[in-house]
Structure formats: structure tokens, C-alpha cells
């Protein structure tokens, strides 16, 4: 529920933003100032970075050999004019018999580099500037340090407040005792007899025991409440909502689906056509990870999710799929990854992803929750039959543009006298639709 509320809140805020044209200006200013911030240092680098990412990144990295050599400091190694002609058309340069060109060609297994005639000399300068650019490490370190400090600060203050509160309470309690003690002493000295109330305490219990009606009622209450808890306990047997097992590779949906905005069905492609959503085979991972060997995104230091940690997880993938980073080739030495299955339906339930994803057009998040925010994936929904049925009662069939439904929907909606049929009215609550 709370998630729904949150998202709806967000939506309203966004709507507000859209309505107010001022916000656009505000956004533009924001972006402008951001870009200014970068361009203030070196005007070519930003452009060079985007050109590098668009044209070079699929084969080159700054610090590492990929298909082609690492490009950090490449301008120092070679003459600029030579670089111009090499980048624009390396094949021609090799053909012309240039020694340097042939040497590189030989070194990298005779894989020719694509020609980039569309790049101007200026563009190439920008790219080279980017490859030479060394970010000032001090700033980053400071920022990191600051965040750490601020983090620990907040927790520190919390602790201190708690300790202080406890101390105050303790002081108050001791003071109370002291006050009563002094009062008692004063009273005794004045000759007043303090009453002893211990006797009455026993009499309540005795009265309770003697009162059979009370005993009867309380036994009933006890039985009812224990039945309530027993029922509650038993109903959650086999319901694994929140199940968050440790996986052999720490795969973060937050990074892939959240930060990088990868579509769910890019990896879980069979969800469109099959009953299984399918866990992507490792060759699908390698579509991207052939080029992404290191993690360079955000870190969560508190939980130990450092860049090194993530990079190490990528190495696990390489080991499983048999990818040799040095030679940039597959060794053929593979071992499948044994993921722990999170969403388990009993054998006697038939569930089909394509029915829900393709026919009904339901978002994956409807059942799987905010996957794009999950660092570790967990079971979001209870996956109980009641949960399925609720949705089948509430939701309407998506009939638009589906000729299969045309006739049956027309006839059935007339029969039931409704505009849109719910899944239940279509027969979606029948036992045999899911149990066979």
C-alpha cells in the first residue's frame, strides 16, 4: 500500500511540475549550471567524453585493453597527425604499409579498427583530450569523506540523544525513590502510621479465583486469542513473502533496472511468449558485460557494496561463462550459475507469464514490486491464491486490439450488463483454469 501511495504522490508532484511552465525554466537552469560546471574545467572534455562513448567505447577503455588497446595517454604515444589518419581510416593506413599501423594491426590479432571518416580533427582532439584527462582526485576524496562524516554524525547524535534520555530517566526514578523515602521518614518521625496495603493485593486474586464467571470468560478469551494466533501462524506457512535468499552472484536489480534503466524483458525475454519468465542465460549477460568489466556507479559503503565488491561479482560471471579478460576470448570452460529460485509456486498451479505480460499488459512491478529499487531481489507479493483471486476479481480484461476477445466480450458484457468484463466474469476464477 505504502508504495502505491508513494508512487501516486510522486506522480502528482510530477504533474504539478509539468503544469507549471516555470519549472521547465528551472530545470533548464539546473542542467545548464551542471554542464557549465564541467565545461568550466576543459571545454573539450565533455564533448570528447560523449564522442568517446558513442564511437569508441564498444572496443576501447581508458585503462584497460578491450578489443582494442587502452586509450589513456594515447596522444603522448603517437604523433597527432598520424592519429588523425589512423582514426579516420586505419585500413588505408595499414594498406599503405605504415610501419606503426602494421605493428598495431599485428599486435591485436589482425582485427581492423572501424573507420570514422565522420570525425573532424576537432572531434578527435576532443576525444584525445578526454582520454588524457585526469580528474582531480582530491575533490572526490573530500566528497566521499564528507558523506561518511555526515552519515556517522547523524547516527552519533541519535545515540547520544538516546543515552542522555536514559540518564535523565534514571535520575528521575532515583529522585522519586528518594522523595518517597524522605517523606516516609518525615511521616514516621511525626508519628503517623503508614498503612500496609499488601493484604488487598491477595484479595484480588482470591476474588478472581472465586468468581467462576470471570474464569470462564478469561479461558474463552485465552482460547480465542490462541486460536487467532495459531490461525495466523498456520496461514503463513508456505507463504514466503519477503523471501530474500543469498544468491551465488550478488546481482543488483537496482543497478541494472534502476540506475541503468534496462527493460525487464531485455533479460527476461521469454516472459512475453512463454509460461516462464526465464532467467537469462549467461550469454545474455555477456551482451553488455563483454564491455563492462568494472563497476563505476554509485556505492553503498555502509553495506559494503563498494566498486571493488561489484567488480568482483562481475568477475564471478566471467568465471561462470568462461570469459578470459586478458585475451578477451571465451575459454569454453563454463559452469552454470545455480541461482536460488525466489518465486516458487506449488506444482499444482499453472501460471503463464505471457498471459499476464503480453495479453493483459500488466507491468512486471505489479506482482514483483519495485524491482528497480531492490539491491537484493526478494519476493514482494505473497503469491497466495487469495492474492491471485483478488486481482482476478478487480481487474478488467484488456480487450482492445485483440480480435480473440471481440466476439466473446461483446456477448458476455451484454449478458452481464457491464461495460467492461472483469477476469472473474470471463471465467478467471474457475478451478481448472489454473489447476491441472
Amino acid at each position: 500500500m505504502s508504495v502505491v501511495v508513494k508512487t501516486s504522490l510522486l506522480k502528482t508532484i510530477l504533474k504539478l511540475f509539468k503544469q507549471v511552465s516555470v519549472s521547465k525554466v528551472f530545470l533548464a537552469v539546473l542542467i545548464f549550471s551542471f554542464s557549465l560546471n564541467i565545461s568550466a574545467q576543459e571545454i573539450d572534455i565533455a564533448k570528447g567524453k560523449s564522442l568517446f562513448n558513442a564511437n569508441c567505447a564498444s572496443c576501447h577503455k581508458l585503462n584497460k585493453n578491450l578489443v582494442g588497446p587502452a586509450l589513456k595517454g594515447v596522444s603522448a604515444k603517437y604523433d597527432k597527425d598520424w592519429l588523425y589518419s589512423w582514426i579516420k581510416n586505419s585500413a588505408a593506413l595499414i594498406k599503405s604499409g605504415d610501419d606503426q599501423a602494421v605493428a598495431i594491426y599485428e599486435e591485436y590479432n589482425k582485427v581492423a579498427m572501424n573507420a570514422f571518416p565522420q570525425l573532424s580533427n576537432e572531434d578527435i582532439d576532443n576525444i584525445l583530450a578526454y582520454t588524457d584527462y585526469v580528474p582531480e582526485p582530491v575533490v572526490n576524496a573530500n566528497a566521499a569523506a564528507v558523506t561518511i562524516n555526515s552519515d556517522s554524525d547523524s547516527s552519533l547524535t541519535n545515540d547520544i540523544v538516546l543515552v542522555l534520555l536514559t540518564v535523565v530517566l534514571l535520575v528521575l526514578i532515583t529522585m522519586l525513590f528518594l522523595v518517597t523515602k524522605t517523606l516516609r521518614n518525615i511521616a514516621e518521625k511525626n508519628g503517623i502510621n503508614v498503612e500496609n496495603k499488601q493484604g488487598s493485593k491477595f484479595s484480588i486474586w482470591q476474588a478472581f479465583i472465586k468468581n467462576q464467571f470471570l474464569i470462564f470468560v478469561s479461558v474463552i478469551l485465552l482460547l480465542l486469542s490462541s486460536a487467532y494466533f495459531a490461525y495466523g501462524y498456520m496461514m503463513q506457512i508456505g507463504v514466503d513473502q519477503g523471501y530474500m535468499p543469498v544468491q551465488p552472484i550478488h546481482y543488483s536489480h537496482k543497478i541494472h533496472a534502476g540506475a541503468n534503466q534496462i527493460e525487464c524483458q531485455y533479460c527476461h525475454s521469454s516472459a512475453r511468449i512463454s509460461k516462464h519468465s526465464g532467467i537469462p542465460s549467461l550469454n545474455v549477460c555477456m551482451n553488455c558485460h563483454e564491455n563492462i568489466a568494472d563497476y563505476n556507479g554509485e556505492e553503498d559503503l555502509e553495506k559494503g557494496y563498494t566498486k571493488d565488491f561489484y567488480t568482483n561479482e562481475i568477475k564471478k560471471l566471467y568465471k561462470a561463462v568462461g570469459w578470459d579478460e586478458e585475451t578477451q576470448s571465451y575459454t569454453g570452460d563454463t559452469e552454470p550459475v545455480k541461482w536460488v529460485r525466489i518465486h516458487n509456486l506449488p506444482d499444482f498451479v499453472y501460471f503463464n507469464h505471457s498471459q499476464h505480460v503480453s495479453v493483459a499488459g500488466i507491468d512486471c512491478q505489479k506482482c514483483h514490486g519495485p524491482v528497480e529499487e531492490m539491491e537484493i531481489l526478494y519476493q514482494y507479493s505473497p503469491l497466495t491464491m487469495g492474492w491471485c483471486i483478488d486481482c482476478h476479481r478487480e481487474s478488467n480484461i484488456k480487450v482492445k486490439d485483440n480480435e480473440y476477445y471481440t466476439k466473446i466480450h461483446e456477448e458476455l458484457s451484454k449478458k452481464y450488463g457491464v461495460e467492461e468484463l472483469s477476469i472473474a466474469q470471463m471465467g478467471g476464477l474457475e478451478c481448472g483454469k489454473c489447476h491441472y
Binding site: 506457512i237 508456505g238 514466503d240 535468499p245 521469454s270 511468449i273 512463454s274 509460461k275 516462464h276 526465464g278 532467467i279 537469462p280 542465460s281 549467461l282 550469454n283 545474455v284 561462470a320 561463462v321 568462461g322 563454463t334 559452469e335 552454470p336 550459475v337 545455480k338 541461482w339 536460488v340 529460485r341 516458487n344 506449488p346 506444482d347 499444482f348 499453472y350 503463464n352 505471457s354 498471459q355 503480453s358 495479453v359 486490439d401 485483440n402 480480435e403 480473440y404 476477445y405 471481440t406 466476439k407 466473446i408 456477448e411 458476455l412 449478458k415 471465467g427 474457475e430 478451478c431 481448472g432 483454469k433 489447476h435 491441472y436
Partner: protein
Amino acid sequence: MGNHKKYWKSELELSSDSELVDKLEQNEFVEELPVGSLFEDENSLENSNASRRDFLKYLGFSTAAATIASCEGPVNRSIPYVVQPEQIVPGISNFYATSISDGFDFANVLVKTREGRPIKIEINNQSKDNSPNARVQASVLSMYDSSRNQGPTMDGQDISWDQFNLNVKAQLDAMKASNKKVVLLTQTFASPTTELIINNFLKKYSNVDHIIYDSISNSKALDAFEISYGVRALPTYDFEKANVIVSFSADFLGDWQGGGFSKGYAKTRVPKNGKMSKHYQIEANMSLSGANADTRIPLKPSLQKKALLRIYDLVSGQNSGVKLDDNIEVKLKSISDSLLNSNGKGIFITGIDDVGAQLISLKINQLIKSKVINVQKLNYTSQGDDQKVFDLVEDVLNKKINGLIMVGVNPSYTLPNSEQFNEALKSVDLSVSFSMNNTETAKLSKWVAATPHYLESWGDVEMKSGNYSLVQPTIKPLFDTLQFQDVLLNWLGSSNSFYDELKSNWNVSILKGSSWNQALHDGVYYNNYSSKKFSSPYTFPNINNYIDSLKSSESDGFELTLYSKTSMGNGLQANNPWLQEMPDPITRVSWDNYLTVSKSDAKNLGLKNINDSNGALNSNFANVSINGKSLKVPVVIQPGQARGSVGFSLGYGRTSGVKNELQTGVNAYKFYNNFVNVQNVSLESVNETHEFACVQLHNTLMGRGDIIKETTLEIFNTKKSSEWNYMTQVSLNHIETPVTSPDVDIWDEFDRSVGHHFNLSIDLNGCTGCGACVISCHAENNVPVVGKREVRKSRDMHWLRIDRYYSSAETFSGDNTTKDNINGLSDSLSVFGEMENPSENPQVAFQPVMCQHCNHAPCETVCPVAATSHGRQGQNHMAYNRCVGTRYCANNCPYKVRRFNWFLYNNNNEFDFNMNDDLGKMVLNPDVVVRSRGVMEKCSMCIQKTQKTILDAKLDGREIKDGEFQTACSSACETGAIVFGDINDEDSKVLELKEDDRMYHLLESVGTKPNVMYQVKIRNT
């Protein structure tokens, strides 16, 4: 007072000097209690360190641990591919067209695979040849057989293929150098490319002879055809053109000449424009064909030959001087008349293993100018030569053979004199057996080459001339196996694989420019030319030479006819539990073979069938002997068995490569002397009891003509449907009202006019009882195998059964008359008692019965937990997870189609069949749940298939066309007798059938309004 009373538990206690009483006085238990050995042995008890307290501690701890452990859910692993093959999507089926050619069964099939494993055999609609029968349907399970040969062996020791090839080749070369005789004994391949490779092999090794051996021989028919037409092959038949079918002991709906005739046959059996074919069957055993015949004449084999000659006389106008009984004479006259008047649409076939009989059959067809037989297009699926095999066995026995390479054959089991052969085989220098299982032959061979299943192999077949089919693997070989052809290529020193050879041979000599990929996709390729050409057509030999031997055929004793059962065939798949549990269509006995005896012979010999009190069938044994060789065989009294004849099915009694529990029956090949299926035997009764697992003990309809409605073609053509398809009436306010009228219905009708409404129609005229649907249902719905012991207790799990009924009078209509003429109570008692017994030559009717999916289902109203309920689409749903196992539903079902899981049939060593075997489980359909103990199950009308069809249409955003909806049984029915579809679809075939005059519901009078309907059986008598 009370002290004088004496209480006693049994009479014995009253007598004072009973031993038992004394014993009981001293002991509470008569038998000694089985107290564990620990307590008996004082020493070990004292020496034991464990104290009583320790014991309780351990007990408590382990109980607690077990309880805690059971609270945790299991951790399931999901393991994706490392590199996912492009065509495999988990959850989506792939279909591949391929063919089976195991030497006995030849068929084009479509294989359904899931996640790369074949799970179901379907009909290949592109095929013009054989469709899968029950055995082929079941063959997918034979692949997942954990007792298969898993690699090549030498003297029982595992070796590598390199060693195998190196050693055998060296030995072959040595034998060639010293010109020692080697024989390559193979099954019938009918494979053009295999023949090519074998010919190359024979060229290279001139000392090798190639002999083809069919375990069940068609050699006599081949000989006759060769004599007549100069080609050693079988003719083909197009039964679709037939108007008059005369079969002398040819079970063409079974395995006669490879089978595959039922599709064409069934088309002529469904009356169209008031016409249907007429089928005469003259036979000794009650065969599937005989059961479907309009007129069946039981005759023992010696008389069959004479009758055959008589028909020839009548057709040709000759006179060979054969004399038969007058009543038979009359029938033969009418048969020959209808053949002569058939106008080219008659066909005469015979299964008698006699060259003369086969020649006469060919001649008769020529005389009546039959267009059904085609002597130009040939059937190559049986090529064995008895004489050569006979000589070979002689040579082996006389130690004249130095090497024997056996491929796909099992002579140690199938030869009549297998004991001597086996003894001699041990002394053959080079004995190689290419075999998928550890067969009797493989066990005795020095070298065993493990071969793959056909679903793991490449290959090709030319079943009929010009009809080519391809065999392609649907899964990577499960074990370290190599195809025979690949091994042969290796011995020839070729670097090509069989696949290379196959492809090049096809491109060069078969496809000639057509697309290989298309042929592979279709699984079949047809061209008009034949690879074999006629040398001398239509030069008929002088038949008179053969007439004398036929004329003089006499027999005093019993004549045995050997036959192959629908379920077991030649015994190749004996280790297949589906086939073992499949009831025989005629006797309804599973897990056994037996001697079929006629009622009067049984009475004379003292052979008995007894219905046990628990509802099972028992029998005594007969000692069957030929020339001193005798076997003790259990007996089934078979209505329709010709007097003086007995029947015995081949294919049982396998002992090697077969699980203990599946080693059933007696090996009838021991009597297959000279490869002739008719033998003279002597019988004597043995007074021992055999226990059968027979699923149907009540054999007659007792005049209840509304269960199987039938009529004759004449009545069907001339009278109104209300006369032959009578609707039961009930009296409402003294007015006769049909039971289907809403006025007499106590239930409200639910509106089913919107959406799909599934109906299933079964045409009793089209159904031949072949049982392919039973196995198809088994495979599709993960139906468990329960074993002989449980079947005996009527706990068989088949969702679909094919009831077989005999008439107790000569005809079923005679039964109805008898019942109607019953007068008074005493009469009814005696007459009904008599009607329980089938006639000596009864009419037979088959009726497939599965859940009728009643719209007013009696089972649904009695379920206390609403586990069974009705869907809008007409299916009666069964929610297994909801079922608590009260079995009220089964008790309230008038059709008795519900099946209860008395035990856990998977992962249970007590039921050691495919579901207790990691490999065997691979055949399970992942879309259907495997049921657990204590729940009811039944036919679901393949809801997983209808749901899939609907989903596919939704995904494509289109309407569903007629024919897309299928159930496992309807898709397996090659005759088209079972039709499934949506009656709310106006263009559907099933709606047309529902409105047909022949349509009726089973037990209409009960008012269940079933969604399964039957079409009245029409007999052309």
C-alpha cells in the same frame, strides 16, 4: 451369578483339551513376537553404551530436529543455460518431424520436445504412410530407459568406441584375409542410405554376407510376390478405395504386413450417402480386424486354406474339388459373389504363412481387377528371408560361421531353437551385437555396440516406393552410443559421419534439387519414381502346383496361431511399462500373454477362467506342446476363437534387459518353428492357478442396447433416426416425454452459448479399438503406471479406457430381443444369467470411455470440498490440491471414469516404473501436475491443451479456427473417430456431428447431459 457365566471367543475354547487354548492361556500372542535381535542377545545389550536416557535423548532430539527441518521450505535452484540455444525457450514446445523404423514398427511421427527433451509422439500430418500406433506412441518412454546400454562393451566390460572399432575392425580384416565367413544379420532397415553403406561394406569385405531377419516374418508373402511380379517386396493397399474387404486371417488393423491400413479402412466404414464397405473376416483367433468385421467366420487354419481355395474356385470358375460344410459353403458363396460384383473395389488379403495361399490371394485380386491393391507401388518395410535365416542358423549350429554381426535383431530370444543357437553363438569367434538394450543376444555377444534410440539418431526410410522419410535426432544422445551406420563407416575407413552420407545421398539420388531443409522440416519427401524397377510384371506362375498342398491341409489336434499383440508387438519394447499396462483391446488383459481357447474346447479339456471374489480374473494353465517341446501357458477363454484352434501372442517372456516386474508372460517364439505362424499342438490342462490383471470381467451388454447403440446399414438407410437412435422416454403426467426435455429435468440449465463450449465426439464406426489414444493420453497427462498387482485390484489409472463388448446371442440386436422377451421374475433370473456369457462367435463392439464431462455432473454435487466443479467451457474440472480423497465422486459417477491415487506412484520403490527413475521422469509433461497419494483424478479433456490453444490465439490477437482445439486422444486417432472442438463455433466439425442423426449420449436416461457424445454404430450385415 456373574461368576458362572463363561465367555468364549471361539468354539475351540469350549473343548477343554484343545492345544490352541492351552497356548492362548499362556501366551497372549499365538505367534512369537518379532522382538529385535538386540534384545535377544544379552551380551550386546549389556555391552551397549547407550543407556535408556540416551535413547530417549536421541529420540527426542531427532523428532525435534525433524519437526524443525520440516518447517523450512526447500531451497529450489534455477539454473539457466550458459549459452541458450536459439530455438529453445523454456516453457515452449518445439516439434520435429521424424520417423521410426525399428524393424517392426515403421511410422512417420511428429515429436513434441520441451526444453530439449522429447515428451510426446504425435501424428505427422504431412505423412502418407503409417501413423503412430500404440507402440510408437509409447516409444518415447523407451528412450528414457535407464537399463539401456550406456556404451560399448567387450565381454561385459566397458570399453571406449576407439578400442571397440579398432579391435573389431582388426578382427574383421584378419577374417577377410583368411576368407572366413562372416554374416551381417540385420533388421529390415528400408533405408536407402543404410543400404548404400552396407553395400560398400559388402564390397570391401567380400567374406561378409548380409541377411535380413524379421522376427515376425512376412517371407511367404514376399516369396509369392516375387514369384508373381519378380520383385521381392510387398504390394501396397489403398483401403480407402475398398468396397468389399475379404481377409483370410490377415489382421490388417493390427500388424499384418506392417499395419497402417486402419486410416483408409475407417474412411470406408463411416456411412456416406448411405454406403459403407463390407468386411468379411475368416480367422481362427479373435483379432482386431475380426472384431471390426461385419461378418466373421471362425475357422481353424487348416480349414481356412480349404476355404481360401474354395473362394478361388468360385471367383475363377475352376474346380479344385474342395469340399466344406454346407453352412460355410453358403457364406463363401456370398463372399465370392460380393467380390465378383465389387467392380474393382474389392480386395482379398490373407495372413496365412503359405506361398500358395499368398499366390492365390494375389491371383484373386487380379481376377476381380482390384484397384485397392497396387503392385507397382511397393511396401519395403518387411524384407526378411526365412530360408536364408534358416540356413544361417544351421551354419551357426554347425560352426560354419566365424563372425556374426547382429543389428537390431535379437535371435537369442526370437529364434524357435534359441537355446541351441545361444550355445553355438558362444563359440563364434567374432560376435557383435548392435543393440539399444542388454537383450538376450547382447548378453551372449562378445562385443556389444550400444546404439541410440531413434529419437537420438539420423536416418532415412523408404517405406513405400517413392515415399521417403527422414529420421532426425530430437535430443543429444543420452549415453555413449553410436549408430550402426556410423560404426560401419568407421570400419570402412571413411571420415564422413552418417549424417554427411545421408545428406549427400539424399541430395544426389532422392531430392535432386529439392530442398533438404524442407524435407527435414516435413520429415517426408515424395517423388513418383521407385528406386526398384520391375523386371517381369504380370507373369503369373501356375498356381495349380500349390493347390494340392492347400487342398490336403488336415489336422486332427489343435492348431496354434501365433500373433502379435497390439501392445507388445514383437517384444522389442518389453521394458516399456506403458505398453505392459495397456490392456489388450480384445481380451482386456494387461501384463500378460496367454493361450486363447474356444469355450467348447476349454470345457472339453477342463480349462477354466474363474472370476475371483476380489473382482480379478484367474485361470488354470495349459501345457502346450509341439514335438516334445512344451510350455506351460495360462489360458483365456476367448469368444470367437475357432474350435480346434488356439492363439498365443509373441513378444512376451523377455528375460534380459527388462526389469523384473516387467518380465511377464511366456515366450511364444519357442513355437515359431520354420517361421510359420500356424503350428499343430497338443494341449493338456494343468491344475495350477494363474492370476491375470484383466480390467474388464463383464463381457456382455446384457441387452442394454442404449450403451452401445447400433443398427444395420439397411435400417439406417431406410428408417427414421427415431427408430434406430431411440431417445429414452419418461412419463410426465402420464405423457411420454423424452429424458432430454427440460420439463423432466430437476436441474436448471446454465447458459453455455457464449464463449467456447467443448464437445468430444466418438464415432463407433471409425473406432477400431487400436488403443493409440490410450497411450497418447497416458503420455500427455502423466498418468502413472500402477503394476500388475494393483490392476488386478481394479486400481488401474487409465483416464481413457476402451470397453469391449461381446454379444451373448449371435448379434447385439439378438441380445436386445432376448431381453425384451423376458417374461416374469424367474425367467429374468435365468435369462440374464445366460446373457452374461458371450456367444461362441459374438459380435464385438468397442467403446472408448473417458470422463463424459457432464453438464449436470453427479460427481460435482457430492464433493464435500468442491474439489470438482464445472467450467463454463464444458469441462469438468478437478482441483487435485483441493481433493481430500473421500471418493464420493467416483461412487456417484455413472460412467466409472474416476481414478483414485491409492498410493504415491512417483518416487516410490513399491512402484518401480518410469516415475521412480530420474531418467524415466524426463518423459513427464511439465504442463500437467503429477498427482500425489489420496487424490482423485480423471480425464480433464486435456484442459492444458485447450488453454494453450486459447492463449496462443490471444497472443496473436486472432480468432480460433476449427481443428485447432485438440485433445491427446483426438490428435492420436488416425482414423478420425475421435473429434474434438467447440460447438459454439458454427463451422466446427464437432457441431455438425452433434447435430448428426447418429449422435447419442451415453446413459442419456440418467440426465447427466454429457459433453462427450457417441455416433451410433452401423453394421453392414
